[in-house]
């Protein structure tokens, strides 16, 4: 296997994530899509580690950090979602326009 194969998978996974984040109406869907993007990035990191700099395992270490941050992110995101849902009774993103001027 070459690095190109892993990068291709990663790129496709990432784009699927982007597509989902842009199109899912449900906030949970968006959050899930974001997780997909995170995973794409992690996959890249692991692949680079293996193919380019296998000696220090820095890439894997960084991926671990990323996983942790992603975990933190989804926890807070879901908590926020719960809070919003209690207030507005919806999880559909078009119904939120708190930023509207």
């Amino acid at each position: 296997m070459t690095l190109a194969d892993y990068m291709t998978v990663s790129a496709l996974l990432f784009l699927i994530g982007v597509f989902g984040a842009l199109t899912r109406r449900n906030i949970i869907g968006i959050l899930m899509s974001i997780e997909l993007m995170f995973n794409a990035a992690n996959l890249n990191l692991a692949a680079f580690d293996r193919f380019l700099h296998p000696e220090g395992l820095i890439g894997q270490t960084l991926a671990i950090f990323t996983i942790t941050v992603a975990a933190a992110e989804i926890v807070v995101g879901l908590a926020l979602l719960l809070a919003i849902y209690r207030n507005t009774d919806t999880t559909y993103v078009e119904d939120f326009h708190l930023l509207k001027g």
């Binding site: 690095l3 992690n42 193919f51 671990i64 926890v75 926020l80």
Partner: protein
């Protein structure tokens, strides 16, 4: 050969389930598919020989995050969701955006088609452990702080509302 079979099947699992995540109408199914996709990524880690990463992925993502998401989906989901569109009207544009971006990304990937693994994979848990407690001690502590903050944040957001 075996390597190829493993890789392509895992990739297929990852990508197809990811597609399912973003296209399925039923959010419960989506979340299940998310778990599958994340597990597939874990498999790819294993194929790359990243043993610790594989373990972390299974523990954090597959058994942690995917399950958490599923909980929330079931907590907030309603029967009416099944009849609503889950994809908004931007999908054409989004597809276009992804298409444009894919040109660049795939080209970038294609440039590496001759890069092979330099050596056989080796177990890395020990090395990663040393890194965490040595060179990367400060980030490691910081990340634990971040987790604590996230924990508190989650409690705060959910608790405040339930109190009122």
């Amino acid at each position: 050969m075996l390597e190829h079979i493993v890789f392509y099947s895992l990739s297929a699992v990852v990508l197809l389930s990811a597609l399912a995540v973003v296209t399925l109408k039923n959010t419960v199914h989506s979340s299940l598919m998310l778990g599958l996709s994340l597990a597939g990524v874990a498999g790819l880690y294993a194929a790359l020989g990243a043993d610790f990463l594989f373990a972390a992925q299974i523990m954090v993502y597959v058994s942690g995050i995917a399950v958490l998401v599923m909980f929330v989906v079931m907590l907030l989901g309603r029967a009416s969701d099944l009849h609503l569109r889950q994809v908004n009207e931007y999908w054409v544009a989004a597809l276009a955006v992804c298409g444009v971006a894919s040109v660049g990304l795939l080209r970038l990937a294609g440039a590496r088609s001759a890069t092979f693994a330099a050596a056989a994979a080796q177990p890395g848990t020990r090395i990663i452990g040393r890194l965490f407690l040595g060179e990367y001690l400060l980030p490691f502590e910081l990340i634990s702080l971040l987790l604590l903050a996230a924990l508190l944040g989650a409690v705060f957001f959910t608790h405040k509302e339930s109190a009122s």
